[in-house]
Amino acid sequence: MVTINPKIETKNLNVWYGDHHVIKDVNLKIFEKIVTAIIGPSGCGKSTFLMTLNRLLDLNSDVHVEGEVLLDGRNIYEPRLDLIEVRRRIGMVFQKPNPLPKSIYENVAYGPRVHGIKDRKVLGGIVETCLQDVVLWDEVYDRLKDSAFELSIGQQQRLCMARALAVKPDVLLMDEPTSSLDPAATAKIERLVRVLGKDYTIIIVTHNMQQAARVSDLTAFLYLGKIIEYGDTRSMFEKPREKLTENYIIGKFG
């Protein structure tokens, strides 16, 4: 494990939904250009944690966040911050593929358009590169004008990844990106995560431990809103330090 400056660091992060305390004092350092998995049983706050990192949690009312999330050392919860720029730098892929009700092309071009790119040539270039990055280009290059809903679920999820990449983020948050996919589509996404993990800082939430083992370099085990264990993926799966982690990994609960 390299000890460089973290890309993202949370400091005493706490989240409440109303009175329900979901994230409890989480201090976590996420390192650049590696894949970090967050595992844990459902309802333990994995997705909530992920959505605090790009402040998408703000969309819900009745949510209260305390503590800091530092992106390259700067707190993204500070009042006068450019949220749009933060969201550009931290992309997100959701649990269920959520293409926009637009064409395949427009789905990828939407982000760049939002950030002010108007030139059609530039947009076309971005669309092609991003679709190639997610290995979707060859499947869709001749029907870019079709609705994104014409694609299979697996293709939709890769389209959503391309859409996230199109705004040139540094970080990619992935919230159980394969939970609604079949094994073949899952394998494709996992391969992508491995490849993209060399260029992007990826944080992937999953309840599938084999997946965490396959794709990630570091793993954090989150249980009831607390980080129980965090470290090198292989050693965590082979030799967990905590009893709780071991019980979860061998399937005693979850």
């Binding site: 790009n54 998408l56 969309l59 009312s61 749009i84 720029e85 969201r87 550009r88 992309g91 997100m92 959701f94 269920k96 959520n98 293409p99 926009l100 009700p101 939407y110 982000g111 939002v114 950030h115 609705s147 809903f149 959503c160 859409r163 996230a164 705004v167």
Partner: protein, 278 residues
């Protein structure tokens, strides 16, 4: 077969009676006005000025009145709905506004007419004019447009907004690009239905906007206008022996207008429901 008590067996028939009455009533209205109108109507009458015994100005005047009302109520209604659903804090104020709006929908149209007369015509000095009519009818249509738009906006999957905002779109940008475009058919439908509701309105324009006779069509929004409903009303009430074929012709056109609007709303909804893929 399952045993049913005699009461259980009779009740369905009993309950169907009002439904049958309703159907018969609407069929007879259609037949009555329809045959009367069809027998009376001809192109010459439709295209000729009222001054020469035609009904041209009231037809076009009605269209003026309705299209203006639509143009005013649509943006106001949509903005209000967006505000109520997306921006206004969900609390007592929101509930009070919504409740006030529902009550507004139940206010008798003559009251709207009185309000329009005293506020738009007198207080704001618009006089008996197309503009006063637009504004008065807008007050009547708005609750329908707003409620329909609210529904349509709420139906837009939350995932669209999430996806857009996660890419860095501002809240308004996401609403504009995704929520409004997705809700557009629903908004259009409710606006058309609202307009068809006031197409036959008489009381609200009685003293705000319409006159029985004038030369030609209004040339500015500050001119009064001749309208089908009001024209029918005056013909029936004031003349000792009304010329019924003109009345029937105008009633038929009015009926046709409402039917067309309703069909239009239905078609819009159907077309987009078929295309909807999420």
């Amino acid at each position: 077969m399952k045993y049913q008590s005699p009461k259980e067996r009779v009740l369905p028939y009993l309950f169907s009676v009002p439904a049958i009455i309703l159907i018969l009533a609407s069929i007879s209205i259609l037949l009555f006005v329809g045959t009367g109108g069809v027998l009376a109507i001809n192109w010459e009458m439709v295209s000729k000025s009222v001054l020469k015994g035609g009904i041209f100005e009231p037809i076009v005047g009605t269209l003026y009145l309705l299209s203006g009302t639509m143009a005013i109520s649509l943006p106001i209604g949509v903005l209000t709905a967006v505000y109520l659903v997306e921006y206004a804090p969900k609390g007592r104020t929101n509930r009070i506004i919504t409740q006030a709006m529902n009550n507004l929908a139940g206010v008798p149209s003559i009251v709207f007419g009185l309000f329009g007369y005293s506020f738009f015509c007198r207080f704001l000095g618009f006089g008996i004019s197309l503009l006063s009519g637009w504004l008065t009818l807008t007050c009547m249509v708005l609750p329908i447009v707003i409620r329909g738009s609210q529904e349509a906006i709420r139906m837009v999957p939350k995932t669209f907004r999430e996806a857009a905002e996660a890419l860095g779109a501002s809240k308004w940008r996401a609403i504009r690009d995704l929520v409004l475009t997705t809700a557009a058919p629903g908004i259009a439908t409710s606006t058309i239905l609202g307009i068809s509701r006031v197409a036959g309105e008489t009381a609200a324009i009685l003293f705000t906007s319409s006159v029985f006779l004038m030369r030609g069509l209004p040339s500015t929004p500050f001119d009064p206008v001749m309208v089908l409903t009001y024209h029918i009303y005056v013909l029936l009430v004031t003349s000792p022996s009304p010329v019924l074929d003109r009345v029937f012709a105008m009633a038929l056109i009015l009926l046709g207008l409402v039917v067309v609007l309703n069909i239009l709303a239905y078609v819009v909804r159907l077309y987009y429901r078929k295309r909807k893929r999420w």
